[in-house]
Amino acid sequence: MKRSTERILTTHAGRLPSPPDVTETVRAIQRGESYDREAFGRRVRAMTAEVVRQQGETGVDIVSDGEIGRIGPFWGRLAGYGPRALKPGEDPRQAGTPRGEWKFFPKFYEEYWAAQPMGAANLPLVCTGPISYAGQDAIQAEIANFKAALAVARVEEAFMCVVSPGWLVPGFGHRDEDFQPHYPSEEAFFFALAEAMREEYKAVVDAGFILQIDNPRVVSGWDVPDPRTHRHLTLEEYRQAATLRVDALNHALEGIPEERVRHHVCWGSWKGPHTVDIPLKDAIDIILRVKAQAHFLEASNVRHEHEWKVWQGVRLPEGKILIPGVVAHATNLVEHPELVADRLVRYADLVGRENVIAGTDCGLGGRLHPEIVWAKFQAMAEGARLASAQLWRR
């Protein structure tokens, strides 16, 4: 994995803006409707090339395929674990995340979620039999598209995103009905998921890409009550549950060289108050257990910006890289490059300039208007230039 040896490199969290027609087809596929596979495939290939070109143009060093045309996280890539029908009155938008924060801002959340599009990707997932990987065709098609796009682009490095096993199991706490009778315990269930997902991780790395593991739940599960008891977990219980998910992730990563893996953690990308987000300091030791060379954390939205100070007390282990978010999905305002530079210099002062790569808090695609996304990348690149000028002149 490249690091910032001569200047601060830039990257982002993976997802990039999709054109409206691609998004429409994705929704149609989720609804089970028929579509023109060949035409869609061509369109996705062309748009992947387009976003790779745009990343290069806007100063992104470590680029992704933008997840263009991807049908939800891990959609249809597993046998034995998939969506179930809704129970009467069940709202899938809330099924995954009945957050504790709702009770403090009930009207805000009611209106916010009512305005969110609901697709089949929101359906709850259940275990219906032994779990195995069924996504080779899908991931190989993505790899081929990305390789074709990169053949004509000049970039420092390229990465692809895959979710962590824990991502697929919303809500923390213990739920027998999620895995019984097919697995005897929660641990066995998570490890079976991990083994199936390992195949996709390996496919990405074998293709020569950096693998980004998207692992929001390690922190964003904090405000989700135990689905059986509807009770919030204590910090100790939460840390146990998060540790099990990290253990499963590490099991999935077995055999994959650590220097090919970066680990993205986020507190959930909805634009709400986030007042009950678990503080980074209470989860950082668990995050650092993940067998990845780089850890990628939100650091520019107003709920987490102050957490650069966590690194005053926590040492970044030898050889690791920290990718802080220096531009945010939380607002349309385009960060001033000087502010981006200030943020990067703070991190560099604490963990060393060669161990910092500039990133975005979360994936900006689908969360901000495309034009704002590219403007934020430019601001990030300019901020990284300003920071590099400061950090390498000394």
Partner: protein, 380 residues
Amino acid sequence: MKRSTERILTTHAGSLARPPDLLEMLRAKTSDQPYDPAAFAERVRTAVAEVVRQQIDAGVDVVSDGEEGKPGFANYVKDRLTGIVAREGMRPRIFSDRAEFPDFQPPATGAIGLRRLVCTGPIGWKDKGAVQADIENFRAALQGVQPTEAFIPAVSPGTLAQNVVNEHYKDEEAFLYAVAEVMREEYQAIVQAGFLLQIDSPDLAMGKNVQLADKTMEEFRKIIALRVEALNHALAGIPPEHVRHHICWGNGEGPHHKDVELKDIIDILLQARAGAIYVEGANPRHGHEWKVFRHVKLPDGMVLIAGVIDTKTNFIEHPELVADRILNYASVVGRENVIAGTDCGFGTSADRDRVAPSISWAKLRAMAEGARLASQQLWG
């Protein structure tokens, strides 16, 4: 004006969330629909009392009347002054930052989006009682509570001269000074009633992105220097220590990447006869500008009110981040010269809420908590 002698004081930019039923009445009134003036006046009175109590509960030290009865921080003058009419179907205002991103859709501006104020005759007072009603409502609301201090916002002459289309006066300067002459009476009334006066001057910063986007920096600086002179003319006779001067780059959640830099206008802003200068400092386009005060000396006796809470997004600032921001400002201008504020108002216009009301109050609580953390560090 009180300053942060023992701890960091907190305030905000004036306008606050309005209750839904009052919003309904305001919208009817603004769009010339029938409404009950007596019921409206009574609801404004109770709403002011409510927001005063809510500010105190949230830990705000220097409180306002929330501008509950005004349809917007600037256009409220239409009902108070002669010579100004509303006209439908005007050209929309072009924001140069948004123009660069042609299919970025800003949130709808509502039914009155294309209504503009136009000056068609001599500016004068038609309802001097309106400011007295603001004062009486606020006084009544302050009965039995003891905030550190209280302020009422009023729009600057420059903002009116910029927002209102002049079809009567011979040129912009004549219009500007006519507005200044008239608005002076509102400023004096507020100060004579014992309140701090906050002058709202978005024109001095936001103007470069909107109405004056086509001007060069030199031209823009000349125009805003003239507006500051007109403001000082309007403020003549009012002791500066009763005046705080709020500058803003516009409260919309657009890209803002064309915003004029504070460093390029700060010398002119500091010419205003105000005891406090109040600037945005929390949103990501202006979060770095606390460093401007490393090189620019705050005039002796002047207070800096710094935005440490953003008013454009629903994320609530972590109190530790608020404290960090306050500490940055204190490190460059001295702890006793800093008051913590919000970037802009939470109820800039009655047309819509940018931040959900429940979240706006939680943001003010986060500010108070952040000020407490900062004070602990600054005073030990």
